[in-house]
Symmetry: C2
Subunit: 158 residues, 2 copies
Amino acid sequence: MPRGHGRGFGMGPGWWHGRFRGCGYRITIPRQEILKVLNQTEEHLSAEEIYLRVHKVYPSVGLTTVYRTLEVLADMGLVFRLEFGDGKARYELVEGPKGKLHHHHLVCTDCGRVIDYTDFISEEKELLDKTEKALSSRHNFKILNHQIHFYGLCNKCK
Amino acid sequence: MPRGHGRGFGMGPGWWHGRFRGCGYRITIPRQEILKVLNQTEEHLSAEEIYLRVHKVYPSVGLTTVYRTLEVLADMGLVFRLEFGDGKARYELVEGPKGKLHHHHLVCTDCGRVIDYTDFISEEKELLDKTEKALSSRHNFKILNHQIHFYGLCNKCK
DNA sequence: TTAATTAATGAAAATGATTTTCAATAACAA
DNA sequence: TTGTTATTGAAAATCATTTTCATTAATTAA
């Protein structure tokens, strides 16, 4: 497999190196490990949860670094920062096992449970593309991403 | 005008009384003033910003009460709690001068500016209704609300 | 109307996520 | 290998929000 932009599951570290270098960032163990954790989960992890997983393998990595790295990754557009109203930010890979499948969220306002859904993404796409284009020009905004949250009560809470 | 459920701009306090009583809540000055502030603005105010405005009229009202009241109002479904990623929650009336016009948000990831847009709401409606129904039954979720955020760069930041 | 009941309040302290500081470390370029 | 400089970890600082608790005031019962 040629070096470059493969994005499959279980790949060794590496594909993001070019991305880092291009942005003038150094490639460090904490950064690689944090990406690895995000690449291996389907959950919406908080900074602390990521820290705990990285820390298990590299106990020398600190929570501060996790926060700093997540900020960098979000700025680079590799990671999406989510807020579901429970007081802590959560993160998911934009590209990776989850990101590959574009999805939105169903949030239970009672217990905080979050369900990802991928239904209707294709129907949405057309409308969203159209909306994006129009909003871009009307409000002179360069749209890079979007997020749809449905709020309500899950089966246990209603 | 008969007493009851008028929701126009500039109404005297009163229309939310029934709603409060129905939920077993007492009608107090802080609660009325906080609703008045939310009813009179088009902005996305934070708890502290609301506090400052209420405090100007009733200096005895404290920030704690603002937080508590906003939680009650959100639970009652009178107020929508928004998070744009700047570290503080923001609130808007669900019914009122803004809420009447359903809208979504355009968020600048650089400067944090938020633009409300009402474009395409009618086109969206059909898709969202359909999506809501399907998600409700498929995931056994009672959907009460939704939120769409577009992220990108505003004219000044791009 | 007035007194009793109890939710609501304000101030201060506590909490908890995130950020900052700063000296030590480690990537990378030369 | 060595120098330069971004990155790091630990501890302290910050800042939004929540909790505590004694006081006040909205509603209810009398």
